[in-house]
Structures are given as C-alpha cells and as structure tokens.
C-alpha cells in the first residue's frame, strides 16, 4: 500500500539532517528555577563575603536581617519559575499569575525596606564615613552600579541557561528573569549595605532592580528577535 502520510519538504529535511546531534531534554520549570538558586545565592552573597554584614544587624534581629532576605530570595526564585513557565509554549501560566507575581515582588521589596528602616532608622550605625566621610551620592552610585552589575551577571547566566526557550512574549519573560535577578541580588545587598537610609535603599537599590528588569527585557527582546531572524532564513 502506498504511504500517503505527509513528508517534510526536502529543504527542511536537509536542515534537520545536518544537525541531529542528541540533546538533553529540558527539565520542568520548577526544577530549572531551583537549579538557578545556587548561582543566584552565590552572586547575592559576594557582597556579604566582601564587606560583611551591616552594623545594625543586632538592632534588626535575625528575622529582619536573615529572614527578610531569605523571603526576598525565595520570591526571586518564584519569579524565575514564572519566567521559565512563560518561556514554555505549552506551559504558560495565566497572565493574572504572571502580573500578580511581579506586583507581589514590588510590594515585598518595598515592605521589607520600609520595615527595616522603621526598626532601625539611620544614624548611629553608619560604618561609612568616619575620619574620611563619603558623600551619599557616591554610596548611591556604588550600590546602584554594583548591584546592577551583579544582577547583570545573573541575567547573562539565565540567558545562557534558557537560550533555547521559546517565549511567546520574550520581552516579558526577559523582564521576569531580570526581576528575579534584581530581587535575588538585593536580598544580599540589603544586609550588607552600610548606608541604610530610606532614600538610599529605595533610590539606589530600587533603581538597580529596575535596571536589571530593563536589562532582562532588552536581552529577552534581542534573543527573541535573533530567533526570528534565524527562523526567517528558511531552508
């Protein structure tokens, strides 16, 4: 009997046959998100290893110091999990969940910052300055650029880990990865930063999170366009 099943076009078959090396199947989004945790934790902890914990950790107590950062870090992994779902053609989450996760992240970061400032208002615990006072804007720049750079490294790592992802909205997926990176980095920086004024915490650290979100969105868009460009070169 003649086989009437549709056959792939010759050119497509050639393109497929040219690159048939075995590949490792992808993991579930939750597993992927958990796999990113050690790297995110390392990137987030580098600042703690470099300059140690903030001077007022005694006033804040372990819950507000380590507990709040752990909560923020967990939220970052949740954002990466949502982003990994957004990158899967058959596993997207409802838009409501995606946007709720983003709003929850914003709310939690702001709430933790305000609570920290409320428990330990700035003043006696400043470690910067001393005999050589450092102007606040320099601290803003150091924290803003430093945590954006650390977040940027994480975003590059995520871009590599999720390079084969197939997000329908690559800019949104990238922004979520960026938000995850920014929130994870801030979890470490908030307990290391020796300049805990509210203006600095919301301004410099907040701007760094926004910058990583924008960087993630930009990289997502670029990767999406690149995939489109490759796809348009049909065999």
């Amino acid at each position: 009997m003649m086989d009437r099943s549709p056959k792939p076009p010759e050119a497509l078959m050639r393109a497929v046959a040219q690159d048939l090396k075995p590949v490792k199947p992808s993991q579930r989004p939750l597993r992927l998100a958990i796999e990113t945790a050690p790297c995110a934790l390392l990137a987030s902890s580098l600042i703690l290893l470099a300059i140690g914990i903030r001077g007022d950790s005694g006033i804040l107590g372990p819950l507000m110091t380590w507990g709040a950062s752990a909560a923020q870090f967990t939220l970052a992994i949740v954002l990466i999990w949502v982003a990994a779902h957004e990158s899967t053609p058959a596993g997207r989450l409802p838009k409501g969940i995606v946007y709720s996760a983003a709003v929850a992240a914003l709310f939690v970061v702001v709430a933790i910052t305000l609570s920290t400032f409320w428990i330990s208002p700035v003043g006696s615990t400043l470690r910067v300055g001393g005999p050589f006072p450092v102007p606040p804007w320099i601290m803003d720049l150091v924290c803003g650029i430093g945590s954006t750079a650390a977040g940027g490294i994480l975003i590059l790592l995520f871009s590599w880990m999720f390079r084969n992802s197939l997000a329908i909205r690559p800019t949104v997926a990238g922004a979520l990865y960026g938000a995850g990176a920014g929130v994870a980095i801030n979890a470490g920086w908030r307990i290391a930063c020796p300049f805990p004024t509210l203006r600095h915490a919301l301004g410099a650290h907040g701007t760094a999170i926004i910058a990583t979100v924008l960087l993630g969105a930009l990289i997502g868009r670029l990767l999406g366009n690149r995939r489109l460009h490759i796809g348009s070169k049909r065999p």
């Binding site: 792939p8 075995p22 899967t88 053609p89 058959a90 409802p94 197939l166 049909r234």
Partner: protein
Amino acid sequence: MIRYQGGSLEAFQEIYAQLAPAVRRYLSHLAGRSETADDLLQETFLQMHRSRAAYNPTYTVRPWVFGLARNVFLMNRRAARRWAQVCESREDLPEFPVLPEAESLGSRDQIRRGIASLSADQAEALLLHHEWGFSFEEIAGMLGISAAAARARASRGMVDLRAALNNLLRART
C-alpha cells in the same frame, strides 16, 4: 519526541507526518491565508528542531508543537507588522476548519463565515478544543490563560457561532 531528541531522523519524520496537517490547519486559521500557512509550517518545524532541547518529556508533544506554531505565527506577525492585512484577509475565508459539532447547523461555507465572525480569542479556543481536541488545561498552557477562561471562551464561541448560523439561516429563508 524522546527518540528525536536522541538524534533519530525517522522520529522527526514521524512527528511531522502525525502533526503537520493539523498544525497547518491551525496556522491557516491564525494567519487567515493558506499560502502563508505553508511558510509558517516549515518555520514551525525548523524552530522545533532548533529548540528540541527545550522540550520537556512531561509535556504532551501536540500542545507543545501547537504552542510553538502559535509562537512562530506571532513572531512573524510582529516582524511583518501586517496584522491589519491579516485581519482584512479573513474576508477571503481560506481553509477554515469546520467543526464536526456544527456540521448539522449549516453548510461548510456558512460555518466558515460563522467562525470568521467570532472574535479571534473565541474562535481560537473553540477550534483548539472542538476541532483539534485539546483539553482546556492544554489550551490554557498554550494561550497563557486559566483553564476556566479557555472553557468560557470556547463555550461563548459555540453560543455565538450557533447564533450567527441561525441569523444566516433566517436571512436565507
């Protein structure tokens, strides 16, 4: 799919043979033009090949490939910025699938016109469920909505389709 990920060309051919006709009809529905659907179909399978490592065996292959096809369509639409043109071309009524449930309600042409009159969201959910047999959970994963929203879209689509067909019949008599 696992054999294909392991490097089997025959497995790719099997996947193509099983899925290409349905994916082409779906793309034809999305794009509104059958000639565009052929290009998009080829691109879908090319993207599937390039991204085969991104497939997770816990997902069913069909919704994954359909989701990928939708992705390819949207990327192309975004790049070409010709959505308006695509919408206009719906007047041409190309190879629009005809629902088995609706066949008793009117001629194929009437049903096609009825489906074309639905909103894009309703028509897509309706066809994915009734024509291609996806569950509402699978549709939810492909469209980024909840299963309840997918069910509501398909159900409202069917109600509107019935109403559109009744109007057509009444207009004729």
